[in-house]
């Protein structure tokens, strides 16, 4: 659960990315970065809005850090333009950008105490001494490190170092905070707790956060929008719900969560419905909305495991929106059961069921023939 869930109505209305009038705060226009022959960032255009919590999500090596480093000013784009708050950043060095970064390795100054680390940024701006003291104290309180102010980084645990790094990058109240896999070094429990705190801090300060992560759950938990990246490109940039329920490609569908994908051929394509045959599943998929593909076109059908209902009795018409197979494997997780069903074509399909009633034995077991059915709106039809 995130802090956002406590104010659902307010959150729902705030969506500047769907408002054509809204002025983007950070603007990337056709940005590319080449290292020698290697294209690390490939023609990315993105708009990020004020006070947004934006996530860059993708596998290792897809160019997330490079993109972040271009925003911070450590790498120059090979081509394209980056604007922050209306100012072109082309000739602005890192030490003059209104941006701060939290590094993947934390990069704390080893010869300075926690306090001196946090004060460093303010000292560079020649902030008066008593104001530095006050703001450092505020930050120490915010990240709950007051008692450790006089320690050196090597005397801190991983979680504590992470907090110092966060405080140090927040103390200057930047227009934008860049976070490169900030929680990567923490264990699962601490990571979840810190995700929650990050969201709180972001909402309190109103600073625009851009976070890099390869953990899709983390991206879904903390961010307003996610840019899913692959090989230097942004494949889809949308809200967590959109990328999960309405992915625009097989890549996004498979990267976010679990999914069953079938290759299909369109047999009927109307204004308000479509029918797609999937030989692998020995089934016709009936969709309750029009699709942009013509008859005979090849498409892909993405079906999430939790969208299917599993049962032992066949539905009225077992050739439409129903696939049948034999239970191959069962994973019992307490709250959920995961069924791996082997279809007659040899393909394995995953289905998840919530365990609603208390039973000592599941009603469905190995080798049972089962029928998986779903509502006509449950399938995502993908062109690529």
């Amino acid at each position: 659960m995130t802090a956002r869930a406590t104010e659902p109505t307010k959150k729902k209305k705030w969506a500047p990315w769907s408002d054509p009038e809204a002025e983007p705060f950070i603007r990337l226009v056709d940005v590319s970065k080449r290292f020698g022959d290697f294209l690390a960032v490939d023609n990315i255009s993105l708009d990020i809005y004020r006070s947004e919590f934006f996530a860059l999500l993708g596998p290792s090596g897809c160019g997330k850090t490079t993109l972040l480093r271009m925003l911070a000013g450590f790498e120059k784009p090979t081509s394209g333009r980056i604007e922050i708050d209306g100012v072109d950043m082309a000739d602005v060095p890192p030490y003059e950008r209104p941006v701060n970064m939290m590094f993947q390795s934390y990069a704390l100054f080893p010869h300075m105490t926690v306090e001196q680390n946090i004060a460093f940024g303010l000292r560079q701006d020649r902030v008066p001494r008593d104001e530095i003291a006050r703001r450092v104290r505020e930050m120490l309180d915010l990240v709950q490190l007051g008692p450790l102010a006089k320690r050196k980084p090597h005397q801190l645990s991983g979680g504590q170092r992470q907090r110092v790094a966060l405080a140090r990058s927040l103390v200057k109240r930047p227009k934008m905070l860049l976070l490169d896999e900030p929680l990567g070094a923490l264990d699962k429990k601490l990571r979840e707790k810190t995700q929650f705190e990050l969201v709180n801090i972001q909402e309190e300060t109103g600073i625009t956060f851009v976070i890099v992560t390869h953990d899709q759950e983390e991206a879904m938990t903390v961010s307003c929008r996610i840019a899913v990246m692959n090989q230097g490109r942004v494949v889809q940039a949308a809200t967590p719900t959109e990328v999960y329920e309405f992915p625009n490609s097989r890549y996004v569908a498979e990267f976010i969560g679990d999914v069953n994908i079938f290759e299909g051929r369109v047999t009927e394509s109307g204004a308000d419905h479509a029918v797609i045959g999937a030989p692998e599943a020995d089934c016709r998929f009936r969709i309750d909305h029009g699709i942009s593909a013509n008859v005979e076109a090849t498409v892909w059908l993405a079906l999430r495991p939790e969208k299917m209902v599993i049962g032992k009795t066949p539905p009225e018409d077992p050739t439409v929106n129903c696939i049948s197979g034999v239970v191959w494997d069962i994973g019992y997780l307490g709250n959920l059961s995961i069924f791996h069903v082997r279809l007659d074509s040899g393909k394995t399909v995953t289905s998840i069921r919530t365990n609603r009633s208390r039973e000592t034995e599941l009603d469905i077991t190995w080798e049972d023939r089962v029928y998986l059915t779903w509502a006509p709106g449950a399938v995502a039809v993908l062109m690529t």
């Binding site: 060095p93 030490y95 970064m101 390795s105 100054f109 010869h111 090597h154 070094a185």
Partner: protein, 273 residues
């Protein structure tokens, strides 16, 4: 078979160390000899140390040596650090391999060759030889040591620490002085001490590059020895051995600490993968 302390091993060890250190031990003992005869023990005395201070030749030599050592090791520190930085940071430039080989060459070059080539250079340039030329010569070979020490420290330096300083508003120059230098300071001190002791006990290069009126302590001792060994020489050598030992000890402790720090840094970096 060499793992255990067999009588053979013990004997070999004893002979080895005796071979290395017995001459020095004898030198130290006889510097406290009452008698003027170097080979006959006649009781404990510190009078040769006292008379050292009245020997103007030795005192002048010591002063010259200290001045040369101080200036040349300081210059070597500056230039060696710059060379080490260039080697560790600019990994792409043309001729890097050649440059890195040339920086390290004085480490293995025979001293006679270094001295001779320096001499030829100064003659060709028609410079008056003296304290200045010795200082330049010492700087040249000592900076190679500093460059190597600094380079090996910087190779494992986490550059994101410098980037963090830039990110927080420090200019590149300020970042270098406030962040980079303090972190690599132990390596710098080790390099300086090493240069200082190298310059202090150098005889060959100094002999080649010195001129009339510029006689270093090792040169002075060498010329006195040719007229016979006196207890005074033993006394001044004992002091020299003391200074060099302390310098090398501190330098190696600092380098060991830097190595430990490096291991700790690497472990930190791994922990945050």
């Amino acid at each position: 078979m060499f793992n255990r302390l067999t009588p053979f091993n013990v004997t070999a060890l004893a002979f080895g160390y005796a071979f290395l250190y017995l001459p020095i031990v004898i030198l130290v003992i006889f510097s406290f000899n009452e008698s003027r005869l170097v080979t006959v023990w006649a009781g404990f005395s510190t009078k040769w140390y006292v008379s050292l201070f009245d020997n103007t030749k030795i005192m002048d030599g010591a002063w010259t040596t200290l001045r040369i050592a101080f200036i040349s090791s300081t210059l070597a520190l500056v230039f060696g650090t710059l060379a080490g930085l260039a080697l560790a940071r600019f990994t792409q430039f043309r001729g890097r391999t050649l440059f890195s080989g040339m920086v390290a060459a004085p480490l293995v070059m025979p001293e006679v060759i270094t001295g001779l080539s320096m001499l030829l250079l100064f003659v060709a340039l028609d410079w008056t030889r003296g304290i200045g030329t010795i200082t330049i010569a010492h700087t040249t070979f000592a900076m190679a040591y500093v460059a190597v020490v600094v380079q090996s420290r910087l190779v494992t330096f986490d550059r994101s620490i410098e980037e963090a300083a830039l990110d927080l508003g420090a200019t590149p120059a300020k970042t270098f002085f406030v962040i980079t230098l303090p972190i690599i300071a132990p390596a710098l001190v080790a390099g300086w001490l090493l240069s200082f002791t190298l310059s202090l006990d150098d005889l060959v290069i100094a002999s080649f590059t010195s001129g009339p009126g510029a006689t270093t302590l090792p040169m002075e001792i060498y010329s006195m020895v040719r007229l016979g060994v006196t207890p005074e020489i033993n006394a001044v050598s004992t002091i020299l051995v003391g200074i060099v030992t302390v310098g090398v000890l501190i330098a190696s402790v600092l380098q060991k600490r830097a190595a430990l720090q490096r291991i700790a840094d690497e472990r930190l970096a791994q922990a945050s993968e």
